[in-house]
């Protein structure tokens, strides 16, 4: 006797027809999240060629589209299960990982669904697109059942992925390619210790990169900073506290050296509670604070980078549990 209430989700996928991209799931029993809203995009988004910030929100199971200049919400995409980290490609499309659904959704600049990649058993939480090959790398936090995660690389962003792992790593979070097409990604070992790994271009397995110059307690964003020729690596437990900061990390051989720290403040001037994934764009760092600490409402911010400190702009009226961020140009 199994006492379950299952329901069959009805996922309407309205591809680029009437503006709506992914409509909400409906059912006859209580849904696992309270999302009952429809997708919408503003006329402003239909017209604009300006850069847009896509923010995934695991609390509402939506993706919000912000005007980067004003941080005004110009669209909401609904119908996700547990949207997580994001990345973008050179077409301006944004990839949104969905941990619970084992899916990665590709959205156009205007929020239309272009493609989806389903990998049963995966827990996608982060992704990055390789400009040298067009491949899409997806970080799966865990494998199911109760197995370590890995990196799934989809050739040209389609088809069947290849799984890559570092045998010493258990949890896989975020990553990015450097200019040479080498993939760096963070996560934790089975004991919960931070790890940074490299999958060299053309290699079949990843190896650990030793971190020097400081301690990162909980893996956050990883992004290649082309201007400085180093990586930005986030720490969601900066100083082993419920606080977030990002570090500049220079790679040399199998060693990653912390060369700088950027502290980030919330709208009240306090330290940020939880920046899961931010994105560097035009010498600014854009991202959201998932403020479970209770100091300020969760909000999406823009800070100067590498200076950090107080945000130059923010929107504190939209987010619930914001997670991922990506820029669509």
């Amino acid at each position: 006797m199994k006492r379950y209430y299952w329901f069959v989700p009805i996922l309407f996928v309205l591809c680029a027809c009437g503006g709506n991209a992914v409509a909400p799931a409906l059912g006859v029993a209580p849904a696992p999240h309270p999302d009952r809203r429809s997708s919408w995009i503003s006329p402003e988004l239909e017209r604009t060629q300006a850069p847009l910030l896509f923010v995934s929100d695991a609390g509402t199971a939506d993706v919000y589209i912000y005007n980067v200049k004003t941080l005004k919400v110009v669209g909401t995409i609904t119908g996700f299960a547990q949207p997580q980290g994001e990345c973008s490609d050179n077409k301006g499309n944004v990839w949104v990982t969905d941990a619970s659904g084992g899916t990665v959704y590709e959205l156009s600049h205007r929020g239309h669904l272009e493609n989806e990649l389903v990998q049963k058993g995966a827990t996608p939480v982060g992704c990055t697109w390789d400009p040298t090959t067009g491949n899409l790398a997806v970080m799966s936090l865990l494998g199911v059942p109760s197995q370590s995660g890995g990196v799934l690389v989809f050739p040209k962003g389609v088809g069947t992925p290849t799984l890559y792992t570092n045998s010493k790593q258990y949890f896989y979070n975020f990553g990015d390619y450097d200019a040479g097409g080498n993939l760096f990604f963070d996560g934790r070992d089975a004991n919960g210790n931070f790890m940074l790994s490299e999958l060299p271009k053309g290699k079949s397995s990843a190896h650990t990169v030793a971190l020097t110059g400081g301690t990162i307690y909980f893996p956050g964003m990883v992004q290649w900073d082309a201007a400085k020729q180093d990586f930005i690596v986030g720490d969601q437990s900066c100083g082993n506290l419920y606080a977030s900061c990002v570090y500049s990390v220079k790679i040399a051989g199998n060693t990653a050296s912390i060369t700088g720290e950027t502290k980030l403040q919330n709208s009240a001037g306090g330290q940020l509670c939880d920046l899961v994934q931010g994105v560097l764009f035009n010498k600014e760092l854009l991202g959201s604070d998932n403020d479970f600490c209770g100091s300020t409402p969760s909000a999406t911010y823009i800070w100067p980078y590498p200076g950090g400190g107080a945000p130059t702009r923010y929107n504190g009226k939209t987010d619930s549990v914001p997670v991922g961020a990506a820029i669509s140009r």
Partner: protein, 333 residues
């Protein structure tokens, strides 16, 4: 339904119990021959009693529908004591020192017992709320209690800081009442309103550094799955284990929950939260124990964990409509 499974009493046990009770002395110290305990029948006692020499034994505590808490040697499955100070014992929990906390719903209090003790060493006044289940923060010793006050008034999560006599209460707009709570190894608390179809099962968490409950979505093995019969939450040493007939493991990472895996339990049907046996801190538990109310019989089943499958033992002696269970680990000193 089993209303009274205690038809007989061995003369020696009865005599020893009555003698001790008449003297007004603490019941701890009422001994019976060890060899007889596995066959001994018990009837509802006016006084609590407990065998001696239990410090080096893992003990299983079971809240029963007849208002008694029966106590067993965990591995030998033998009845070694009965606690009778309750009006409606519900969920239970234990700390690393072996102290056992037993919620008494109708009495609106939680009683704390030392490992193998018969007299409470502390009483936590939970009025006007009705305690349902509990959990101990391994990092602080704080006691968290899930309060289920029915539909007449909202419940709460009440937390007594270690050494404090009054709790801090937390409420949530989405969770009208609370039927489950568990701390992880880092002192983060996951809570649920349990199994209240058709209202829906919801979850919230209180971070170690937080000052309010925050609602979170907890995914199951399929994104379309809705939780239906959540009876409780436990920390299995590595992940949260949600008791929804089977056990579903969840990683809670900075307020986000991720599905990890599940354990199928044959002959399940828990009427209250399971307990995961774990005698090695920092590792995953190795057995799961839970009460099962059958059509004609009540048992407390043991299963391997996380492999699950068929029960490896069914404990029925002294069991009457079991609800909460907990294991007090043997004392190391």
């Amino acid at each position: 339904m089993m209303t009274n499974r205690y038809g007989h009493l061995f003369a020696l046990a009865a005599a020893a119990t009555m003698l001790a009770a008449c003297g007004g002395a603490p019941m701890q110290g009422v001994a019976v021959p060890q060899g007889a305990s596995s066959q001994r029948r018990v009837r509802p006692q006016h006084r609590s009693w407990m065998d001696l020499g239990l410090a080096k034994q893992d003990l299983l505590y079971v809240s029963n529908g007849n208002s008694e808490v029966t106590v067993y040697r965990y591995w030998q499955h033998t009845l070694v004591g009965v606690l009778t100070q309750f009006t409606q014992p519900k969920g239970e929990c234990a700390d690393s020192a072996g102290n056992v906390y037993i919620t008494d719903s109708t009495a609106q209090r939680i009683l704390e017992f030392a490992h193998g003790g018969t007299k409470p060493i502390k009483s936590f006044d939970d009025s006007p709320d009705s305690p349902y289940t509990c959990s101990i923060d391994p990092t602080t010793g704080n006691l968290a209690v899930a309060n289920q006050d029915g539909t007449s008034q909202p419940g709460s999560i009440a937390i007594w800081k270690k050494g404090s006599s009054s709790p801090t209460r937390y409420t949530d707009s989405l969770l009208y009442y609370f039927e489950g709570c568990a701390y992880d190894a880092n002192g983060n608390l996951l809570v649920t309103n349990g199994s209240r179809y058709p209202y829906g099962t919801y979850f919230a968490w209180l971070s170690k550094a937080g000052n309010k409950l925050i609602n979170i979505t907890v995914p199951g093995p399929d994104p379309s799955r809705a939780w239906g019969y959540v009876q409780g939450i436990q920390w299995d040493g590595k992940y949260f284990a949600i008791d929804d007939y089977y056990i579903y493991r969840i990683a809670l990472i900075h307020g986000q929950a991720y599905y990890v895996g599940e354990t199928e339990l044959d002959a399940a049907g828990s009427n209250g939260p399971y307990w995961i046996y774990n005698n090695k801190p920092g590792t995953q538990g190795t057995q799961v124990v839970g009460g099962v109310n059958g059509d004609e019989d009540s048992v407390v089943n043991y299963w391997h964990y996380p492999s699950g499958g068929e029960p490896i033992f069914g404990l029925s002696h002294g069991i009457d409509n079991p609800f909460g269970v907990t294991v007090s680990l043997k004392q190391q000193k």
